[in-house]
Symmetry: C2
Subunit: 204 residues, 2 copies
DNA sequence: TAGATTGTTAATCGATTAACAATC
DNA sequence: TAGATTGTTAATCGATTAACAATC
């Protein structure tokens, strides 16, 4: 059932969840689609359609029970099922993401980092071990990882993606500015920070 | 003229540029839309339409002259006009982006970081100064910045956005998981890394 | 009851793809 | 010339918005 939600709607669900979690509890037991829409800059019909994919139903005249809506979004996004993730590449970005506390909001545990640098292998970052990138397969198995983040230079990203595929990883968040070619059963989202800033700049 | 390109097309231009720049020079003087499409997983008509927004015209039978296409994409994306950017929040992520070399590909110079932590203020990261977040306005002016990256915790992002707006910043790349409310003349792109991973996970 | 708000069906809008003429 | 490839116009597809009945 989670499968037939359109991509654009799915991508907005975490936005709703963050917004609702950030609301002060007083005076916000119920919230309307109109109020959510206004706060986030979406159309209010769009909000109702998006929320309709979750199990939460609103009440005419009053809106949605905030706690119920949060719970429904968490359920839809599987926040309560703990998933394990690995990070390949412990440079500046990889290191930052290993230390970042924001993944727990979605039930994601970033368990381990991999790198090729002998200086880094064997160390710990934020209590997470850094292992040899040669041992991706074993490491992923050991930590039961299904998710991976690639934060290596462009020229080694494809090789790392291949190793992650062999390790049985199901989805990859790729920060390297190259198109990864992996089996199409593996989901990939690309984030190119510099390109995003360039797009902004070119709109000025 | 740059203004009437659809958003989705614009977002693909850096992808083309990265791909073309990464091609070995031998045997790649010319490249066809079909070849680009195959490498990047797009439709080939889409590639031609996207590239048509640049000043580069392809030649039937042979394709696009690679160097010319790269130059046209660089021109469209203003890679040769140097833009200055600032980063607000020098935690793990801000620090990583201050040190990241990938912005120069688009003519973007990340000049300075801001933070509220007295321990960080006055230090340098990758040769870039870290200034007091109180002095955002002066700092932006000094470095002639038009772009900004917000990499602070969610609860202070809005305040920093306001200061950036006062400092005359024109576009913001926001990593904090909150909706910023700023004058609509200021362009904003949000990147929520954890949310992206959560979306991937929920598709499994 | 009247008013506000939900949920759904139909209409619109924009992006992608298909078809095809132009051309090297 | 024939074949490959571009650029463009029309068709399709999917996402958003508008209209409106249902309901608390």
């Amino acid at each position: 059932m989670n499968k037939d939600i359109p991509n654009f709607s799915l991508q907005r669900l975490p936005v709703y969840l963050n917004y609702l979690r950030g609301l002060p509890e007083e005076n916000n037991a119920y919230i309307s689609s109109g109020a959510i829409a206004k706060a986030l800059g979406f159309g209010e019909v769009l909000v109702r359609k998006d929320l309709a994919y979750t199990s939460c139903v609103g009440r005419p005249k009053v809106g949605y029970l905030r706690e119920e809506l949060i719970a429904a979004l968490e359920e839809f996004l599987c926040c309560n099922a703990q998933k394990n993730a690995v990070i390949v590449g412990v440079g500046g970005l990889g290191r930052a993401l290993l230390s970042y506390g924001g993944f727990v909001r979605y039930g994601i545990n970033v368990a381990v980092g991999f790198d090729v640098d002998p200086e880094k292998i064997g160390t710990e970052i934020a209590g997470k071990p850094v292992l040899d990138a040669k041992d991706i397969k074993e490491g992923c198995a050991k930590f039961g990882a299904t998710l991976a983040i690639i934060a290596v230079p462009a020229h080694c990203a494809q090789e790392m993606a291949q190793r992650l595929a062999e390790a049985g990883i199901k989805a990859i968040l790729n920060f390297a500015p190259v198109q990864l070619s992996v089996d199409e059963s593996i989901k990939v989202i690309n984030i190119d920070v510099a390109a995003n800033l360039a797009v902004l700049a070119s709109r000025l």
